[in-house]
């Protein structure tokens, strides 16, 4: 199953960089021979740009920060169906991710049949910086392990 793992976020906006950081760690731990069908990418925008990246794959795994008001470092596992409520992955410049998916389906684009989303509650996404807050830093290894475990289970 052709799979893409996307770390979503801005690498210079503190906790927002958790997605790209997770993607880098996952890439290091994937054996290139066994996981040739898996691509790992760092992406900074939702909406149509995200749609462009996942089209052509059978499965997409997206890792992103989220701001809901819960304790920083809390990890959520979401599906596109739950996105319309959480409003994550929205690029307000064009459209939300669920709407982009909807559009892609309308236009008959080749979209993944499975989309899994890991979201990590962020503490600070309003300052420029490359470091994560302690809480989000603490959650990162667990997310990386979970994604890899899930990838193995899904591919078994």
């Amino acid at each position: 199953m052709k799979t893409i793992i996307i770390g979503l976020g801005n690498p210079i906006l503190c906790d927002d960089s958790v997605g790209p950081k997770a993607a880098r760690l996952i890439r290091e731990r994937l054996d290139s021979d066994r996981w040739a069908h898996v691509s790992v990418l760092e992406v900074y925008a939702g909406g149509i740009r995200l749609l462009d990246e996942i089209s052509g794959y059978d499965r997409a795994i997206i890792i992103d920060s989220i701001v809901t008001g819960e304790a920083p470092g809390t990890v959520y596992k979401l599906t596109p169906e739950s996105l319309s409520q959480t409003r994550n992955c929205g690029s307000s410049h064009d459209m939300t991710f669920p709407m982009a998916l909807n559009m892609g389906q309308m236009l008959g684009m080749a979209l993944p049949s499975q989309i899994h989303i890991w979201a990590i509650e962020a503490k600070n996404v309003n300052s420029f910086g490359e470091e994560l807050s302690t809480e989000v830093e603490g959650a990162l290894p667990g997310v990386v392990n979970d994604v890899l475990t899930s990838l193995k289970e899904l591919s078994a």
């Binding site: 900074y44 307000s92 939300t96 309003n126």
Partner: protein, 493 residues
Amino acid sequence: MKRISIDPITRLEGHGKIEIFLNDDGDVVNTYFQVPELRGFEQFCVGRLAEEMPVITNRICGVCPEAHHIASVKALDKLFGVTPPDAAKKIRELLYMAFFVTDHTTHFYALGGPDFIVGPDAPPSERNILGVINKVGLDAAKKVINCRARNHHVLEMVGGRGIHLPAGVPGGWSKSINEKERAEIAAIARENIDFALFSLKAFDDIVLKNPAYLDIITSDIYVHNTYYMGLVDDKNRVNFYDGMVRVVDPEGKEFVKYHPSDYVSHIAERVEEWSYLKYPYLKAVGWKGFVDGIDSGIYAASPLSRLNVSDSMPTAKAQEHFERMYETLGSKKVNGRYQPIHHRLVTHWARLIELLYASERMLELATDPEITSPNVRVIPERIVGKGIGCVEAPRGTLTHHYESDDRGVLTMVNMIVGTTNNYAPMTLSIKRAAEKLITKGKIIEQGLLNKIEMAFRLYDPCLSCATHSLPGQMPLIVNIRNADGEVIRTFSR
């Protein structure tokens, strides 16, 4: 005093908030347009090597990384005292045209489209890209997606990566274009021209031929007699990549034309305590508050502004549509150039004319024999210590200003981004819309939120970056508060 709060703004880059204050008679006193603060970019860059800036600044924003990248490499050319070979300048401009095509297309169809194509009074559930697709048809929607995809391919091919391109370097570009790539880009540029003409035709059929939409465009709801700013070439024609900054007054007379490196002498920034934003204005005219007219230093920098400051378009088809737009709006020629159009919603039309210009210019560059020259880089050998780079971003004039020590380590970074130029005009537009729709305590509810939103959406504002972690499209909430600040009514959708 009553307070109406609209929060958050949908379909905008970043998260903003509008506050409308009414007096005891129920009339609008003030409108405040607030955006969240993203702290510390300048401090974050000081102490870094100047040459890192093109790949750092293109991460400021998820929407226009290409604009920051190009402004940044132009600033570095100056900071390192090096002139790129002609082929490198042309490659940069070629890439930039592909970016403009993508960005203007996305704005027109995904952001502005719901306002015009679906209509300002359509139910909110249809006022989105899906509603646009229903109206223009699946084939047209596929054209939009294909347009984005093929230009994304050009950005990847020329820029070295589709996202956060790394190819720009001080003194030029890090890779040349071969003949096979050139031919492919030329074919894509031709498709872009067809697509731009198709979009102008759609605008004509759906918007201009619809009296109700035409009324909104030409009504006095969104008219401000401000100054305008944009880059022009040596014949006073639109240029996105390079040129002099030209400012015209509300009557269309050239007020000043200056080199981008002199921006500090011409532009000052007003700070208001209620906002994180700084409001740029023309120093020589002065700040007179949020009012328009020849005595107020407020200027706009947008697609319409760029056409307003130009005597003509540099390409043939764009020139035809340029003339048609000014003639349609009843603009007269004075001293050989059209008087400015002050109707802000015409910005959407101007954006499509720019889409056509960018496509035509892309083809010119892709068929220029020099574009495949392998000579694309001059290696910098000295450090001047100061560099200012300027381009037209889709949202307005973008300036990067860096200073460094003699090792090339940054000591100062200042940027005026495209949207910043338009903060004051946006505030004017929001206030005007609110005044027209709220009088003596009577609120015209039908389309109120849409019309206020339309007032600033036309500027295509880009208020922050990394928006995917912030809420995207959300329901609108409007609170109406009585004179004691209590919420007496809530609208939401």
